[in-house]
Amino acid sequence: MSASRAISVSVNGVRRDAEVPVRLTLADFLRQQLELTGTHLGCEHGVCGACTVLLDGRSVRSCLMLAVQANGRAITTVEGLAPADGGLHPLQEAFREHHGLQCGFCTPGMLTTLVEFLRDNPEPTAEQVRVAISGNLCRCTGYQGIVEAALGAAKRLRA
């Protein structure tokens, strides 16, 4: 029905070659073809931020991008945050410690968004954290635990 293209991407440090329909979104490519279901879809129109992944280190909405547009790029998803040898990323640890998640559905997008933010802003204020995650909706937490987790992680990452 729709044309396909061959693409080659690096996902969480692993090279993946695939034939994808040109209309396949990056989110569906990650979730369905690569079976990386940690990236979640909450609105598919770019508002909720649950599908956020890092593309060459910058946060993008994988629901608003086509898989073919990611050809030749490096993608980090939530599955790629924890160290390969086990344990959790300091941000993940902080989310657990500060009750930064309840149902956990928005969490992958919150984590990827904040990984980028804390890399660029190692000493943020609470207000800056709030602005950083203002494009990610959470219906459970009221954001307070997430903000505290981000501040806690920043401290840990600086140490």
Binding site: L41, G42, L137, R139
Partner: protein, 773 residues
């Protein structure tokens, strides 16, 4: 207490943090097909003809089913779910798929099943439906006028139900009153908008003739019963499983057309079928809470003591009954709760409209009742020139009158008894934390700088832990692992951790040794699921009693095996130990010894099995209460409201896990701020939805959310052995009322009256302009 009351790490967190959760859309089965629904674009129309030939012909499409295709396979096409009430004038149950009439935008007309969702949506667009548009009714007040279009062609009128609630001689109370004040209020609550939408995955095992449905539901046992009823199957042929659920917030307690149609498609196609709701569908096909219009009067004496309240409520029901009249019942019931009100009468009319059905969203009608009472109390304070907090103090049920028998009846007929608590203390503490007494100085200073600060408060009381029971099995396996199965349903509120805590308190104190299975009808025969802030109360109680019985038996077995008194034994992790010694018996060993060996008697003549199942019945509800105080600034030029400080003091009885309780409360507060200021599901006069993206329908984001300062008062309820009251919805309940009070206070210079929620910037600009004239 070794585990209860402590902030133990949640069992749920690690997989969710690593992207290893399993939500409904993460389920993949071999040969699985994907479905899309064809939905009505009309609020009201007759279906003249459906032509699905072009859709069926599209490569990759496996089936297109309409009502006519499904009818031969359905024992009944209707979802009969309405809660019992004598007030119904009409029974309007939802059909699986629309027949010759559609009654709201988004109603499912056909299902398309294809190799993938992309193709399914292509094909859905090719299904050609010949509609004849009919007049639609959008406004629930207009719906009750004689000339209104009927929401259903065959209905005699749009009155779905009507009832009166109340007690005492109301008219006499008004006659002797020193003052009577009247208010007309509009309240709107939008949708649930869990970040995960709904979804269903069905597979039929033809060899065993068993149907399994994974559904992102809050009520798996109800879903199983409805599948049995509609598909003509028995309980052994249907299993419903809830995977991780990405937020519930009410609408997921409903059983939906998509659940049964997806399941039937899997049976007919002999292939697994998945349907995942998208956000647009969530706006038009998932239930909402929407509109209530109140006309109310309050009668008080010279000292501002309440004498009576009377009035009427018109409630938007939507096009079908998807739950019942419980929502307006809750609202009307909640108006007087918490205050000493001698006489009360509320007439409630439930109106049909051509909109998606209305069912509870977190808070379930209670915030609206609170809003009504708190707006009236603010009015009394203003007219009598009294402090708003003082008017409340004079009328709150005092602690010494607990338990306090009201004259109200809960929906099941029991008299409502406020079981415990100190309402005035909560208010005092909230005022103290908020700096209430000092606020006039802050306000005056701000006004000198041209800024408009306001402060407001609201009290609430909410019934939690709705009975009659929740089921829990606690079983020690031969491995020594403790397995817990419950009819409770987890949707993000840490239900598994809560149950593990309660069980671990009795059985070894190590929550990592507790494996909790919720929301799987294959593991426990009954369950009422997740709603009404009930699970810690009801499932927690059954878990406590079951675990206590298993503990007792484990100690009996060990006492027999180790030849020591039970009182000398303790359980630590997977080990039963003689206190102060290294003589032990593993829990797994105890379980094995009592599992029996063929031909040999059981030790000590005990009954077999180290397990217990409990369905502890508690009919009376545990009433959580609290006080919210909001301080905010209003920009009179733009109408923007910025909340500077929000204090929330509450009493949910014994706190099982302090961090989880705080998370539930703050999340609820966020939802309440959304209802106060942002969330508005708008329709035009033809009942066409006009806010159907998250860019148009506003959920609160991190930058609008103030830090919340919490205060805890703990009055354990006598109604259950844990002393716990529910907390899941409570954060929402007083917020719209407190925000309205604060906005009105901020704009007192302009004589502004807030009679609605949400309060939008446009409303504020208009009200200020009127006040300036």
């Amino acid at each position: 207490m070794r585990v209860i009351g402590r902030a133990v790490p949640r069992l749920e967190d690690e997989p969710l943090l690593k992207g290893e959760g399993r939500f409904i859309d993460d389920i993949r089965l071999p040969g699985m097909l994907q479905a899309a629904f064809v939905r009505s674009p009309h609020a009201h129309a007759a279906i003249k003809h459906i032509d699905s030939a072009a859709a069926r012909a599209l490569p990759g499409v496996h089936a297109v089913y309409t009502r006519a295709d499904l009818l031969p396979h359905l024992a009944t096409e209707f979802m009969v779910v309405g809660l019992p009430s004598a007030s119904y004038k009409q029974d309007l149950n939802r059909p699986a798929l629309a027949g010759d009439e559609v009654v709201h935008v988004g109603q499912a007309v056909a299902i398309v099943v294809a190799d993938d969702r992309y193709i399914a949506e292509d094909a859905a667009a090719l299904v050609d439906i010949d509609y004849e548009a009919l007049p639609a009714i959008s406004d629930c007040r207009a719906a009750l006028t004689a000339s209104a279009p009927k929401a259903h062609g065959k209905s005699p009128h749009n009155l779905l139900a009507e009832f009166d609630m109340g007690y005492g001689d109301v008219d006499a109370a008004f006659k002797k009153a020193a003052h009577v004040f009247r208010e007309s209020l509009w309240q709107h609550r939008g949708g649930g908008h869990s970040i995960e939408c709904r979804g269903a995955v069905a597979v039929h095992d033809g060899m065993e003739d068993r149907l399994t449905l994974w559904s992102s539901t809050q009520m798996p046992h109800a879903a199983m019963r409805l599948l049995c009823d509609m598909l003509g199957r028995d309980e052994n042929q249907v299993r419903v499983i809830t995977p991780d659920v990405g937020g519930g917030f009410g609408p997921k307690l409903v059983f939906y057309p998509e659940d049964v149609v997806t399941a039937l498609a899997a049976v007919l196609l002999k292939r697994p079928v998945k349907w995942i709701e998208d956000r647009l569908e969530h706006f038009v096909a998932t239930t909402q809470e929407r509109d209530q219009y109140w006309d109310v009067e309050v009668a008080v004496d010279r000292e501002a003591r309440l004498l009576g309240i009377r009035g009427g409520l018109i409630h938007d029901h939507g096009a079908y009954t998807a739950r019942g009249v419980n929502l307006p019942y809750n609202s009307a019931e909640n108006v007087p709760l918490g205050y000493e009100l001698p006489a009360y009468r509320m007439n409630v009319k439930v109106a049909l409209t051509n909109k998606v059905p209305v069912t509870p969203v977190r808070g379930a009608g209670h915030p609206q009742g609170v809003f009504v009472m708190e707006r009236l109390l603010d009015r009394v304070a203003r007219e009598l020139k009294l402090d708003r907090a003082e008017v409340r103090r004079r009328n709150l049920v005092p602690a010494e009158k607990m338990p306090y028998s009201t004259q109200l009846k809960a929906r099941g007929g029991l008299t409502i008894v406020l079981d415990s608590g100190d309402y005035p203390k909560c208010q005092r503490e909230a005022l103290r934390l908020a700096g209430w007494d000092d606020f006039p100085r802050r306000q005056a200073a701000a006004r000198r700088a041209g800024r408009h600060l306001g402060i407001g408060l609201a009290n609430f009381v909410k019934g939690t832990g709705r009975g009659p029971f929740e089921s829990v099995t606690v079983r020690v396996g031969p491995s020594g692992k403790v397995h817990v199965y419950s009819g409770a349903a987890a949707m993000g509120q840490s239900t598994k951790t809560m149950l593990a805590q309660v069980v671990a308190e009795q059985l070894g104190a190590d929550i990592r040794n507790i494996s909790v299975t919720t929301g799987d009808t294959g593991t426990i025969s009954m369950g009422l699921g997740g709603s009404n802030s009930r699970q810690a109360v009801m499932a927690g109680t059954s878990a406590h009693v079951a675990a206590s019985k298993v503990r007792e038996k484990a100690l009996q077995v060990a006492s027999h095996a180790l030849e020591v008194a039970e009182a000398d034994l303790e359980i630590d992790g997977r080990t039963i130990r003689v206190k102060g010694s290294d003589v032990t018996l593993d829990l797994g060993r105890a379980a094995r010894s009592i599992a029996g060996t063929a031909g040999y008697t059981l030790p000590g003549g005990m009954t077999p099995g180290l397990e217990a199942t409990e369905h502890v019945v508690i009919d009376a509800m545990a009433y959580t209460n609290g006080t919210a105080v909001v301080e905010l600034e209003v920009d009179v030029e733009t109408g923007a409201v910025r909340i500077e400080k929000l204090v929330f003091v509450h009493d949910c009885g014994r706190i099982l896990h302090p961090v989880i309780v705080e998370g539930q409360l703050i999340g609820g507060v966020a939802h309440g701020i959304g209802n106060a200021l942002f969330e508005w599901m708008r329709y035009d006069e033809n009942a066409q939805p006009i806010t159907s993206t998250l860019a148009d329908y506003l959920l609160i984001t991190s930058t609008e959310m103030p830090p919340v300062e919490l205060g805890h008062v703990e009055s354990p309820t006598p109604l259950n052995p844990l002393g716990v009251k529910g907390v899941g919805e409570c954060g929402v309940v007083p917020i719209a009322a407190a925000v309205a009070s604060a906005v009105e206070d901020a704009l007192s210079l302009y004589n502004v009256r807030i009679t609605r929620a949400p309060i939008t910037p446009a409303d504020i600009v208009t009200l200020v302009a009127e006040g300036r004239r």
